[in-house]
């Protein structure tokens, strides 16, 4: 087991990782930017190192400073969390060459699955269905249009280096293809330094269903069920649940098998998530991409499957097998998570940084709040707007919904605007209660409201 883990992240996930370390009896090191000096995770870590000013590019995205921090604090491992450098193959490589264990898969695997196009090819090679599309990168808009016509409109133009919903544009018809192609490519060039794009058939009104996978050095490759993350606004998830209210038992088996086949084929290690699109009738599933890291919404899987994913990540990385109680675990109950963002949902979700002068989080049976925030905390403007994850778990989906409704109504965050009132509307909506929603639902709902 490691002696000291450096947490190369911030906010709620940094706190989450530090808590897991504490329970494992492992020391933790926090790195932080000047804007995060008052963050709770900095106080609770055993050691902390300032690595730069507020902007991520000058702090959390500086591999050299993070490695240097590991060196001066004697950390023997680094947990990258999600976002930031968690899927940066180069960073994983540097860790490896400095004899610091990167808690995740190898740099090579990150590179393979991080290239969306290569990942698609890997899926196809292993009999995992993918949406019809181009056979790799398309050279330009002209070639892209040819593919689009073959595959049939509408199509999605996707950056191979993209992630987090960026660098993708739909093209509903031939007319808008060229301009959308150029827009996607430009955004990809700006965000990821790589403007290469490929084409996929656009599955209309799809559901986003992802499978949690785990693999260790002792030959264990398995999945821990799915999460339904279809409730999204502009490709950003806002509510997730486990299990999915949509897919049948048979579909779950098929998707689970495909997921395990895929990770075995690339000798995957540690935790990962395979994201699929499922069509409206829930008869077909298509591989979209693989995230070679822990996901934001991992808690709903933890609650239903009775496991602790961050601890398993640390165990696996240190050479231990996955906990025996996690192998062959059966799901129990239903869990729903709301991502609470510092945004004003009634003003186009404008970010709302500022000081929270009163923070009262809900409690009671089956209520879990993962957050680094406290009364008096100031939300800095430099980072993504998520300030808390509210996770409820219950014996059934019906009770979970009632519990989430109750928990959201207790949650008091005064001083900034949050997405809580909007999530209350969704949880109360007949479509959500019936489990009948897809990726396009939020956009449709907001449009209808505008029309009123």
């Amino acid at each position: 087991m490691f002696k000291r883990v450096l947490v190369a992240n911030r906010g709620e996930i940094a706190l989450r990782i530090i808590r897991a370390c504490r329970e494992l009896g492992v020391e933790s090191v926090a790195v932080y930017s000047e804007a995060d000096i008052d963050s709770m995770h900095v106080q609770l870590a055993d050691d902390s190192v300032c690595i730069g000013p507020g902007p991520s590019k000058e702090s959390y995205l500086k591999p050299d400073r993070i490695i240097a921090a590991a060196e001066i604090t004697g950390a023997d491992s680094i947990h990258p969390g999600y976002g930031f450098l968690s899927e940066n193959a180069r960073f994983a490589e540097i860790c490896e060459s400095c004899n610091i264990t990167f808690i995740g898969p190898s740099a090579e695997v990150i590179r393979t699955m991080g290239d969306k196009n290569t990942a698609r090819a890997t899926a196809t090679a292993n009999g995992v269905p993918v949406t019809p599309g181009s056979d790799g990168i398309v050279a330009d808009a002209v070639e892209g249009l040819k593919v689009a016509k073959e595959v049939g409109f509408p199509v999605m133009i996707k950056a191979t280096a993209g992630g987090g919903g960026r660098g993708m544009r739909p093209a509903m018809s031939e007319d808008e293809f060229k301009s959308q192609f150029q827009a996607a490519s430009k955004e990809a060039e700006a965000c990821f330094n790589n403007g290469d794009c490929y084409i996929e058939k656009l599955v209309l009104e799809p559901h986003h269903i992802e499978f949690q996978v785990l693999a260790d050095d002792h030959g264990n490759y398995f999945h821990l069920g799915e999460r339904d993350c279809s409730m999204q606004r502009r490709n950003q998830k806002i509510i997730e649940e486990c299990p999915s209210p949509l897919i049948s038992h048979e579909m779950r088996e098929r998707m689970g098998e495909a997921s395990v086949r895929l990770i075995e084929s690339i000798s995957y290690r540690n935790a990962g998530t395979i994201e699929y699109l499922v069509n409206a009738d829930a008869t077909d599933f298509y591989f979209m991409e693989m995230n070679t890291r822990i996901q934001v919404e991992h808690p709903v899987t933890e609650e239903v499957m009775g496991c602790e994913l961050i601890k398993e990540q640390i165990r696996i990385a240190s050479g231990e097998p996955v906990s025996s109680h996690v192998l062959g675990v059966e799901p129990r109950g239903h869990s729903i998570e709301c991502r609470i963002n510092a945004e004003d949902p009634y003003n186009n979700f404008t970010p709302s940084p500022g000081t929270i002068d009163l923070w009262y989080a809900p409690g009671g049976k089956g209520v879990r709040v993962d957050s680094h925030v406290y009364s008096g905390y100031t939300v800095p403007p430099h980072y993504d707007s998520m300030i808390a994850k509210l996770i409820v778990t219950a014996s059934s989906r019906e009770v979970a919904i009632a519990r989430m409704k109750r928990a959201l109504s207790e949650f008091t965050i005064r001083g900034i605007k949050t997405t809580i009132p909007f999530q209350q509307e969704i949880i109360d909506h007949p479509d959500f209660i019936a489990g009948k929603y897809d990726i396009a639902w939020v956009a449709k709902y907001l449009n209808e409201k505008k029309g009123e």
């Binding site: 932080y32 008052d38 300032c50 730069g52 000013p53 000081t355 100031t378």
Partner: protein, 147 residues
């Protein structure tokens, strides 16, 4: 206070102990209470975050800030180990009282086996050396004070 005046070394010794082994000065509850007590709890108005004016030093000792000598601080632009000389058997790059010129190497900060020379951005006189030789530094830590 007299101790503080000696090149700030004593202050730094204290800081060094805190920094290297920040093995929790207090319990979690103490740390949490200290943090919450130190942040503003405004009157419910949305306040813009206050930009951090001074470089963050996580390891500042509890007993209040020492009287800072005059002059400007040169703070660390990186994370690593601070060295006052190019190698153990060579003289220090600079000493208190030295006049420095723009571009002159003041110290080395070593990280990942690379020795990075930290150069002066303007001329002046060294009035304080804030860090002990061979000590880890983080981004923003004061290295020198220059007049």
């Amino acid at each position: 206070m007299k101790l503080m005046d000696e090149h700030g070394l004593s202050q730094f010794q204290y800081e060094k102990e805190d920094f290297n082994l920040k093995l929790k000065k207090g319990t979690d509850i103490e740390e949490i209470q200290k943090l919450i007590a130190s942040v503003p709890s405004g009157g419910g108005q949305v306040a813009a975050p206050v930009p951090v004016a001074a470089p963050a030093v996580a390891s500042a000792p509890d007993g209040g800030a020492p009287e800072s000598p005059s002059g400007e601080a040169i703070s660390s632009p990186m994370v690593g180990t601070f060295y006052r000389r190019p190698s153990p058997d060579e003289p220090d790059f600079v000493n208190v009282g030295d006049t420095i010129s723009e571009g002159q190497t003041l110290c080395i900060i070593e990280a990942m086996k690379v020795m990075n020379e930290i150069k002066a951005e303007r001329s002046g006189t060294i009035i304080q050396i804030c860090v002990d030789d061979g000590t880890p530094v983080q981004f923003g830590d004061d290295l020198f004070r220059v007049q």
